[in-house]
């Protein structure tokens, strides 16, 4: 089975949304700032529910925030 990684554009989208802070995004979706940091660094993949909440916070579809790509290192 091919390995994959999930990339996200949270950091980029925060800056596009008027330089929204990590704390502000965390409060909007009901998580801690540390979880936002973990998501941006790709250290944690969110649950489907949280992924939808983040997309809703930016008012864009889910696949514009998260993209699944093949992991070139683990193919």
């Amino acid at each position: 089975m091919d390995k994959f990684v999930i990339h996200n554009r949270i950091r980029e989208l925060r800056f596009q949304a008027g330089e929204m802070t990590q704390q502000s995004l965390a409060e909007r979706v009901g998580i801690t700032r540390q979880t936002v940091i973990a998501l941006e660094k790709g250290k944690y993949y969110p649950s489907l529910e949280l992924a939808f909440q983040i997309a809703r916070a930016f008012a864009i579809p889910l696949d514009e925030v998260f993209q699944i790509v093949d992991d070139p290192d683990k193919k």
Binding site: I31, T32, Q34, T35, I37, A38
Partner: protein, 167 residues
């Protein structure tokens, strides 16, 4: 550093501050340790209460809203993994302890006593005794395993949060 990571640090430090002197004392003077145990428990509760109060006051969102921060899904995952590690350490400690306890029972003496022909009115005595010092040593050893598993729990939480922050 987040609220939960600070809490884990406080718990880890409190346990070390309280239980290192406790075990140092109780392994050296096992008989006198019972009153020390009570002092240790009270000391631990006081330290934890104090640290939690300071942490809550120092955290802006709690100070402003007066409401504790609920763990999110990553916090819960980190706590779950830490609990798994701590559970493994505790289980290993208990199993090893039970194994040593079973090995220390003189089975040969026991079987020879049991196989003796029964005499009406006679009491079947094993002649196997544990001195209070030995008994307290083994109880403290088991308790130490429990404390170590708690240290593993909070240590793993800290390592996980540090991994997120530094990585």
């Amino acid at each position: 550093m987040g609220f939960r990571e600070k809490n884990a640090w406080f718990c880890l430090v409190s346990i070390l501050v309280v239980f290192v002197p406790y075990f140092y004392f109780s392994f050296q003077y096992p008989i006198e340790h019972i009153s020390v145990f009570l002092i240790t428990v009270v000391g631990l509760i006081s330290l934890l209460a104090g640290f939690h109060a300071i942490n809550a006051i120092a955290t802006n969102s709690i100070r402003e809203s007066g409401v504790a921060i609920n763990p999110d899904e990553l916090d819960k995952l980190i706590e779950l993994v830490a609990a798994k590690w701590a559970g493994l350490v505790l289980a290993a400690t208990v199993l090893i302890w039970c194994w040593f306890a079973m090995l220390s029972v003189p089975i040969d003496e026991f079987s020879s006593t049991v196989n003796q022909p029964s005499i009406p009115g006679a009491v079947n005595e094993l002649g196997f005794t544990i001195s209070p010092v030995q008994g307290l040593f083994w109880v403290n050893l088991l308790f130490a395993g429990f404390v170590v598993s708690n240290l593993i729990y909070y240590g793993k939480i800290i390592v996980s949060y540090r991994g997120i922050s530094n990585g």
